[in-house]
Symmetry: C2
Subunit: 689 residues, 2 copies
């Protein structure tokens, strides 16, 4: 049995008042604010029933019905209830859900709940039906098993989120994401208690919303890939049913090529414009010096303000003048704009953007919207009633909070960078030592994971979002003290499989992509390699090869997943081995098993590569893994036998490791650093063991 089973068999819990919550949390993500185990818990059988009482929105009934179906799906139990109805609220049931009032799907709404599992009944109490939805997800995560069947452990949970704004940004522009992709991700968000979908809807590469006021926007700016207004309403409703706000982003004045394809008269430089196919930062930008722009934005934002009911409205505002040296060329070269600046005493482009933003703010305020934008919209001339989303860093967020702006952290949550989960997990938006007053601290609303879509398709996006975003969700919900990385990884694996319930493809498309790559052959040797590969990090991928929006996203690098689990396990085992004093221990056994498999894998994989040209680009990576695994085995053997390897061997081996560390096909081996450690250790035996 593997470690999962052992977790499952932990049947009886005891109350641990002295321990921080996460030690007892067992299977929950996010970990609740307060939690105490007691008693034997509630046994689940076919007589299980569920009732909703009190005051709440209708969504609680449909949500509860879905929870019943999910419980049935996991346990195979044939429950008798079909739908949970308002009219059935009288009487008793196994699970009693009470909501005191109808929740508003708005920033700051009460999402707290109390969940008590005893051996006779499960009681979920919440101030609003939104709190009840959160509690139901906790209950589903509690489902446990022992030799006698399924049960909810005896527990008392009092839970409330640490931050009110816990978001996921989905970029539907760089690659269009059909409605079902968004919906299944909304389900997953609800499962880990995220409550904001930040929907990035316009970009240089595409304008993704139907506009009835300016139809050329979607007709000419989308290549036919856009959301009809009925679909937007459907998604907004779907989100609201799950207690999730939808904040749309229409990025202005930059990142706006697709607008200009349709309406070149908005531009700062003469057209014509074409929908951008490449990735990067581009010059096209709205003209802030003409009233036409504001008339246009007023009518268009007015239409969108209706379509998206949430009071917050994101205007992007990023990357007009980029730190990397990008200049607002089209502003600088437009004589009218320069004249306008002079006439209005605007000193620089930052000032010009601030002018633009003030005008946009006026427009949005007229529609009762609160403006949100990226770091760049922060300017001393802008009123304090906007929200700053920080991509540049915590300093920028902190400064905004000090200036009196409310702000959100996204820096450190860029999941498209392919960073390991623990990097995001330990990125606290509001560490204890942040130099902010009590009042300023309240300005930090929370944070958002950002799924930018240069390198994801509907087939791969889930694997970039999940399961890592569940750890970010925990960071934004759970107490600051919940920081045990090993425990996070343990729970993450459990949650990751549960998320498949919502149709997410982060697990199942891995084998599917490998099958396609193998062209019908046995995928085992390919999987052995890709299990220890990851895509290259941050924006290296686009620098190593010229991608466009039509490049295939079906190669090895796309099948490879962030934070490769097998590689992580190997690195952990190596660390354990190198710090252990016993020889022939379990860590050594595991390392040798891994290394032997990798050493022998290339021979098998070669046969597959010979009949799958799409794999040719990782042939030498496979060969390198085989080579360094051989060296790793030699190192382990030396270390184990306390026989120091000669310096020449170390030098040569490190050269091989260096060669192996080079990315191929924009993918890289994630076991190289651990291999280096083994080799160095084998050459300097006095340093360890």
């Amino acid at each position: 049995m593997n470690s999962f089973h052992r977790i499952f068999l932990l049947t009886f819990f005891t109350c641990c008042p002295g321990l921080p919550a996460q030690d007892a949390a067992i299977r929950l993500m996010p970990v609740p604010a307060q939690m105490a185990f007691s008693g034997q818990g509630f046994r689940l059988d076919e007589s299980f029933t569920l009732k909703v009482s009190g005051v709440g929105a209708d969504r609680l009934y449909s949500y509860a019905t879905r929870v019943l179906r999910r419980l049935s799906g996991r346990t195979g139990l044939f429950f008798s209830q079909d739908f949970i109805r308002k009219s059935d609220s009288a009487g008793s049931a196994s699970l009693m859900i009470k909501s005191k009032k109808e929740g508003q799907v708005l920033l700051g709404e009460d999402e707290s709940y109390t969940l008590v599992v005893s051996d006779s009944v499960v009681i979920l109490d919440a101030a609003t039906d939104l709190g009840a939805l959160r509690g139901l997800e906790t209950l589903l995560q509690l489902l446990s098993v022992d030799g006698n069947g399924y049960f909810f452990p005896g527990v008392r949970i009092v839970d409330t989120p640490r931050f009110p704004w816990r978001g996921l940004l989905i970029d539907a522009c760089r690659h269009f994401m059909p409605v079902e992709v968004v919906k299944r991700n909304l389900d997953a968000m609800a499962a880990v208690k995220l409550n904001v979908l930040h929907w990035h809807l316009s970009e240089d590469q595409g304008f993704r919303v139907e506009s009835k006021v300016y139809p050329k926007l979607h007709e000419l700016g989308s290549d036919g890939f856009y959301y009809a207004q009925a679909q937007i309403k459907d998604v907004v409703d779907y989100a609201e049913q799950r207690g999730i706000r939808v904040v749309p982003e229409f990025d202005v004045p930059g990142h706006a090529t697709s607008w200009l394809v349709a309406y070149p008269e908005l531009a700062s430089a003469p057209g014509p414009y074409m929908v951008e196919r490449k990735w990067g930062i581009f010059y096209p930008v709205l003209n802030p010096a003409t009233e036409f722009t504001y008339t246009f934005l007023s009518r268009f934002f007015g239409e969108m303000a209706q379509l998206f009911p949430d009071p917050y409205f994101h205007i992007g505002g990023d990357e007009i003048e980029h730190e990397g040296g990008h200049e607002a060329k089209h502003w600088n070269e437009n004589a009218d704009i320069q004249a306008f600046m002079q006439k209005n005493g605007i000193a620089d482009n930052a000032g010009l953007q601030a002018y633009f933003n003030r005008r946009v703010l006026e427009i949005l305020t007229g529609f009762d919207k609160i403006m949100v934008g990226w770091d760049e919209i922060l300017h001393e001339d802008i009123p304090r009633n906007i929200v700053i989303q920080s991509w540049r860093g915590r300093d920028s967020m902190t400064r905004a909070a000090q200036m009196g702006y409310r702000s959100l952290l996204s820096n450190g949550y860029y999941i498209d960078h392919i960073s390991p989960t623990d990097f995001h997990y330990l990125n606290d938006p509001l560490p204890a030592d942040l130099p902010l007053s009590e009042q300023e601290r309240k300005n930090i609303l929370g944070g958002e994971a950002t799924m930018w879509a240069e390198f994801v398709s509907p087939e791969t996006i889930d694997s970039r979002i999940w399961p890592r975003t569940a750890a970010i969700a925990e960071r934004l919900w759970s107490p600051r003290s919940v920081t045990d990385v090993d425990d996070m990884y343990r729970r993450l694996e459990i949650i990751s499989l549960q998320l498949e319930e919502h149709g997410l493809t982060h697990e199942k498309n891995y084998d599917m992509l490998l099958r396609r790559l193998a062209g019908g052959g046995d995928i085992a040797p390919l999987k052995t390699l890709v299990d220890v590969l990851e895509p290259v990090k941050v924006y290296t991928r686009g620098r190593q090869k010229a991608y466009t929006s039509h490049s295939p996203l079906t190669r090895v690098v796309d099948a490879a997943r962030p934070d490769a689990k097998v590689a992580r396990r190997f690195r952990k085992a190596v660390d354990r081995f190198l710090t252990s004093t016993a020889s022939g221990d379990e860590a050594e056994r595991r390392i040798v098993e891994y290394l032997s498999r990798w050493r022998d894998n290339h021979l098998r994989l070669q046969e597959l590569i010979a009949v799958s040209p799409i794999l040719a680009e990782i042939g030498s990576l496979s060969e390198d893994l085989s080579k360094i695994s051989h060296l790793g085995l030699e190192a382990v053997s030396s270390i184990s036998q306390q026989k120091k390897r000669p310096d020449s061997w170390v030098k040569q081996s490190l050269a091989s490791v260096k060669q192996a560390s080079k990315p191929r096909g924009q993918a890289e081996l994630m076991v190289v650093a651990a291999m280096e450690k083994l080799i160095i250790s084998a050459g300097s035996m006095q340093l360890q063991r």
Copy 2:
């Protein structure tokens, strides 16, 4: 290397004029009407381009664009073209597509095409753009590989379908199927050249279409699970883009409980009615004796006639008086109806239904629709301009054709019965010896696979439809002479993996469901068992356990797939072994490998079952497999050594096999009959080898 690789390495083909098409077809499904290989074929690299010329619908451009993306996805090649545009039709390209006229997505439209691959260019010529779509799918299937990369083999294909009506019925009533389920299946249908989606939209268990004329139909009859009219339009358009007709079915006068929930005044017995939760045939039925019914149907069908542009309109009409003894109780017990029959000289319920159908036919004819219905609507009083869909059998279809009705075969294509693929494959709608005149033969329009949805959810439906339906598609498209079952199975495996390109889950949800069943444990031992399990056949499942529309469809029986591949391979190996004369041959080696694995599997699976109560129901099945595999090994050893087993052993062993043949959890072992053969052979050595 497994057999797949050997297929892929068949690089050079030669023209085989003397052979039937299927022998040379290699990777195509359906096999084309005419096909000859010659030359080396066309090599694919990043310079590949594609042009469309001639006259065709816009859909050809978007389809061609998607084909380019699919080619890019399979090969990893970065092609330069983004979208195929009308304006780019001049000049040359690697793939030249010509369409002579715009195809109409209507019954009988020309779908023929000619595809010629030479070493310098690929030319696809079609009378209509619909033929070009079919040819593009053929081209994608031709994609081959050798040591030098990807290529299309040199070939000349002249292709046209055998039958004009090649359909798949999707029942979206018994379990609702969201739009994305329908869309991905439409993509798969196009990939195997099916051209009719028969969409079953009303049933006792649910009314699935928004009606603006009678909104209570979807409001009260659907539990909230229905298609908005915008979604219907979206699906119809999606289908038309793929050259697929959409024929809606609104089942009347029976199977109509959900209508009566909303409008009990339509019923033949007093209400109130509730949406049916059980499976079966039920009494509720429309009242054919009141004008209200016809006024209602006239307005409702008028609305639907607009929504569904296809001229064919399916009214169901089945199972009012069921052969199994079901009677039209509500008609028999309604005094008004009895009086009406007497007054109008209607002798029996069949006559009453014929009266109803004539009235409905009048209504539909008024909307320029051609009525389609199941066998039961056939009655000598009904005009000949309707289409009969035969579920009862070929005889019924033949009789209809003889009476002058056009007809469709569905009997033998009931994929919900969980029959093996070859059963459906060999079910020819129009065998050479069918007693029909040349004229009557033309009345046979084709056939439809029927995906009835009692026991499928959005998670499992694809695995019931695919890949088996690809073989039915071949039956309906390819020449009658294409009947090689082994070759069909070989190609089916190739096509099955290609279908994953469209997001189908028939392959990938297998492991996903097993992961859920295993609760996070290692799925390998579970897979070993489920690989040789199938759900029980025809309608046994509902008789073995009381299911409702809310029963979980996540148990082992749901993970198990029709026509279990591993079991089939074992049966084939046993047959080869028992007819072979050599000992120690490859078949024996494979059998021993299988049997040893199965014998040892129960010990491992037991551990998993202990922590996954949902698996308890198949514990004894696993144990039985282990037992009979042990017996199978003894048998093989005896046969191999030509040592006859004693009769007592045979008797006892057959008793064990009989025990093992009993379904558990509505699933059954598909290796039992082969095991029986081995045991009998071991006891009667003179009979074989």
